[in-house]
Amino acid sequence: MGREFVFFEEETMEADLWSLYRQMLRSRLFEEKVMELWDVGHISGEMHLGLGEEAIIAGVVSHLQEGDAMALDHRGTPPLVMRGIDLVSLLRELLGFEDGLCGGWGGHMHLFSQELLAASTGIVGATGPMGVGFALSAQVLRPHNIAVAFFGEGAVNQGMVMESLNLAVVWNLPVLFVCKDNTLSITTYSPSVTGGNLLERARSFGMKARDVDGTDVEQVFSCAGELIRELRDQNGPAFILARCAHFEGHMLGDPLLRVVRHPLQRGKEISGGVVRATLSKKGIPRDDRMKNLWTIASLLKKAAAGQKKKGNDPIYLARQKLLKDKTHLYQIEKDVREEIDEALKAALLTAERDGGN
């Protein structure tokens, strides 16, 4: 199978917004199809999408070359799509076919591509040690190569992530830790369970740490480019804290967003227990219980704020800058749409014969 992976031969320091936009759009449209497949039940269990974090992924992986490795978290689809994985094979994996990318064994949280040196994990924080190990191989076997480890801000409270930051520094490893910060650890407001500041935390291990607007793909691209160049020159690990939103919450069917989007239906389902919890004897004073209800309401507000809107959508923001050449823009959008539509069609072509989910 002649797959064409996207390997960037030379380090491009000049952001090409057109190609970054194209990659983001490919990922977005692909994941929107995945969302539809999940909705109709072709994907049975959980589904964590990268809707909202495309600029971070595109800005980082556009610098990767053959021999670079990626440690991917439970949102592994966007980096693989952008690095040129066969879309049909990826879709067939998500649909549970035995000819999918991982033979139907992995699913979206356990996607692997040895050709791309890309591995994903459903264990929060496990990409830290994985990135360190990939970088160790690079240091010994492929001195110009690097590793990238993606994780969320919630993962930075895992011991193994902090241990990895330290190990990467003391072994001077070429690993870029990319922390995608949407402020919610599943449904918990991350600052409420995180001591100090994550940039300072990374710096305290003795590595460079940079803060970027994760909705601005050019900013991510130029920041990642500078850090990756230093990594290739054997100048130790680095850390990027990129802020973004997750439009669909932690996962499709996110419990907070379901209340936000279907307040009457979900409200009815949960109100009985909550009313009893508020009024029943034994427990903390009623006034304090009201405060607890307020805590939950504030979480709902935060989840609601992460839904897609102009200001937090990296694709909308990049597109605004590209509207100056509408002909080119529309052509790209048409091409991408066709590519994704065709991939889905091909993936479903033999669905009835092959079973699947």
Binding site: S44, G283, G356
Partner: protein, 342 residues
């Protein structure tokens, strides 16, 4: 003593109801876990953040801390999103929770409950669907319970809370309706799971009382064959027993309910009656519970024919492959028929 069964509850409701009862009566019980304010909203609202603590994603730290808190007066219930994630915190269980009582010459107890959803059947793949109860029970010093219906779910939660040492409370995802709605359906009506209805919903007592730890339940009596299982497997066995009955085979079904301590007496007694044992275990086949059950019968000197239907590999993501991997009713019937012919 059991209360009169007046109420009907789902599996998840039963656990929560037992917890509410116990937490209202014993202020030393604290609850912690990721997203506790969202997933345990009713506990959180009623008892507040001092006793119902949302944690960072730091399993090694909060489970380790819970062990020490249990040593110094609190009775922590630590909830994991999935039993698979216990891997991150294994040291706290393996080297501390399980051993401190012995290290202290039996003087220092660790009243800790670890609540962990487990099991497969909803298409989430091999890092999210393991059972691991036999793997955990392998460690001396840990008790492991696996309820199969709402009544036992609530009662065994009480049992765990009243026990003076660590209990791992395994809550099967296919039975735990609230959990499955969250991890599986996510509000959809478009997905189907093979949920045993009597496991997910059923009668419960008005007031929760604990049952003895290590007491199996004989759910069905039969003379030809003894089926031994736990969790969802119990329901698959009951279904298989009905099919077998139509083929003229009379099978008994034993719900182990606890892996450790194991109710060896009941197991040996029932297997001696039939002379044939078939173990149905969603946990891994080799070096685990199913082998332990065979050893139990052998050590008792009871001659018996033995077969087992267990999970043998990593659990695949694809629903078709997953079905082929997990112990299902058809496989149980087939294994039973082979056993009867031997």
């Amino acid at each position: 003593m059991e209360g009169i069964e007046m109420r009907k509850m789902s599996f998840s409701e039963a656990i929560e109801d037992a917890l509410l009862q116990a937490m209202a009566e014993d202020t030393r019980i604290i609850y912690m876990g990721e997203d506790a304010h969202t997933y345990r909203m009713n506990l959180f609202v009623r008892f507040g953040e001092k006793r119902v603590k949302p944690t960072p994603i730091s399993e090694a730290a909060f489970l380790g801390a819970a062990v020490a808190a249990a040593m110094t007066g609190l009775k922590p219930v630590v909830e994991f999103v999935l039993v698979d994630f216990i891997g991150v915190a294994m040291d706290a269980l393996l080297n501390h929770a399980a051993k401190i009582r012995d290290f202290s010459g039996g003087r220092w107890n660790i009243p800790l409950v670890v609540r962990a959803p487990c099991g497969g059947g909803y298409g989430d793949g091999g890092q999210h669907e393991q059972s691991l109860w036999g793997w955990l029970a392998h460690i001396p010093g840990l008790s492991v319970v696996v309820p199969s219906n709402p009544k036992d779910a609530g009662r065994l939660m009480l049992t765990a809370l009243e026990h003076e040492n660590p209990v791992i409370y395994c809550e099967h995802g296919l039975l735990a309706d609230a959990w499955l709605e969250y991890m599986g359906r996510g509000g959809r009506k478009s997905v189907q799971y093979d949920i045993p209805s009597e496991g997910m919903s059923g009668p419960v007592p008005d007031r929760w009382e604990p049952i003895p730890l290590g007491k199996a339940a004989v759910l069905r009596d039969g003379k030809d064959l003894t089926l031994l299982s736990l969790g969802v497997g119990v329901h698959r066995c009951l279904e298989a027993a009905l099919t077998l009955e139509k083929k003229g085979v009379s099978a008994s079904v034993i719900d182990l309910r606890t892996v450790a301590p194991l109710d060896r007496e009941t197991i040996v007694a029932k297997v001696s009656e039939s002379g044939r044992m078939l173990v149905v275990d969603e946990d891994y086949k080799s070096f685990g519970l199913s082998g332990e059950l065979a050893a139990t019968v052998m050590e008792a000197g009871v001659p018996a024919k033995f077969r087992r239907v267990c999970t043998e590999t990593t659990i695949p993501y694809s629903r078709l492959l997953e079905d082929e991997t997990l112990p299902g009713t058809e496989k149980i019937v087939d294994a039973a028929l082979v056993l009867l012919e031997e």
